[in-house]
Symmetry: C2
Subunit: 250 residues, 2 copies
């Protein structure tokens, strides 16, 4: 007999932006597994539960501990901030479950959440009204050459570009290399929005340009959104038009 694992996206971190489905999965769980910072976002929902709070870079251990609890017939919620399905824990947990013999696999479900790209866009205005590419600049698990290639492809395709993990304490130069690649293909005045701590204490919104944005404060809690060739800024809002007006005029 096995328990169930819910892999839950909390959204930005406040209960107002967490879906009822996500909240119910956390509240009904016996065990909560997640990165400490995320568990600390929802103290009132996890009080009294068994907590498996591992540090960053201990994702495999966290997934295996969660599975072991479910195999003991406990109900487990593995939490990520944002959407567990976007750079979150969903993939690793499912991989580890499916590696097991069928008879000892716990049941599982993924519960989507509001990801950083959704939260940041809402704060900036409407930058994602047209096609967009989502790229993580973290080279811990991905070759830097591949990341740069993707940035270049997204620029050539005139996508709006959302950068996750744009900068960390140890990794400060990547964002400047990305800027150089983008400047080869995009106008230097292209609007760039930076949202830090979206939906959390200390939320900050900056609107800059492609030539200047790397001078702004960017950290591991920032999401950077680079406009396409049609994106404009008005009254400090960033808008990518979808083209309704053009169609009316044609």
């Amino acid at each position: 007999m096995n328990g169930k694992i819910s892999i839950v996206g909390l959204g930005p971190g406040n209960v107002e932006d967490m879906t009822p489905r996500a909240r119910a999965a956390v509240e009904s769980a016996d065990v909560i597994a997640g990165y400490k910072t995320y568990i600390n976002l929802i103290p009132e929902l996890v009080a009294g539960k068994k907590i498996i709070a591992t540090a960053m870079m201990q994702e495999i251990e966290r997934a295996q501990l969660a599975i072991a609890e479910a195999q003991k017939n406990f109900s487990v919620a593995v939490i990520s901030s944002g959407d567990a399905g976007i750079y979150g824990m969903a993939g690793l947990v499912i991989e580890k479950i499916l590696e097991l013999p069928k008879e000892v696999q716990p049941k599982f479900e993924v519960i989507a959440g509001i990801s950083a790209v959704n939260s940041a866009a809402a704060i900036l205005g409407a930058p994602l009204m047209h096609d967009f590419a989502v790229i993580s600049l973290s080279d811990l698990l991905t070759d830097w050459e591949l990341i740069k290639k993707r940035v270049e492809c997204a620029a050539v395709g005139d996508f709006v570009i959302a950068l996750y993990n744009p900068k960390s304490k140890k990794r400060v130069a990547n964002i400047e290399e990305v800027q150089k690649i983008l400047l080869k293909h995009k106008d230097k005045k292209t609007p760039v929005g930076i949202v830090t701590n979206a939906g959390r204490d200390g939320e900050k919104k900056i609107i800059s340009t492609l030539e200047n944005f790397t001078q702004e404060e960017i950290n591991m809690f920032s999401l950077v959104l680079i406009g396409n060739s049609k994106t404009f800024v008005k009254n400090n809002f960033m808008i990518t038009p979808r083209g309704y007006e053009k169609k009316i005029l044609v």
Copy 2:
């Protein structure tokens, strides 16, 4: 004196996946504006309110009617399914507000929701663990040549690719052209997930391959997710590994 417009993403369409912030904005509004199909998703939340239910393709009229109500000091919720900030109503409403003289501009806010790409990914397993591109195949507002160029760039960059509006009654050949472009750059066995009516009655999940997926049922309520070169299928789940194992072995 002016009222306020909340531009609200409902998520897939059931209250379990709608954030408390979105629900509160709908419940507290005097006036609800939106495409009829979306209003019909939440009859219990809009009962007794003034409804501005316009048809598809009447987005400009809908935005202007919503603004006029807010200028009469009513509280207005303009609703989109999914995330109002992703191919939703946010851009047009903000554009129309900011065109007005400052003294008659209503206040506004965008409330993010679970978009189709998030919902579909959760149902398919974990296909979005790595960089992805989101592309709408609707050529009503976008030149088809630009759409094809973006598909090609996303394929060259080995992005996971999410296709919104993959097919409608009038537009059936675009998806086959897209398939041909992708086959130039991606293995024909690349996993493709199709989720129709995610989170609604009649939800359906299909996992196919790049060479075969256009033979499956795809309609305007479908989201198509095409894997990257690492995406695999196991036990009918679609997973794009992020690379934890590789890093451990290195």
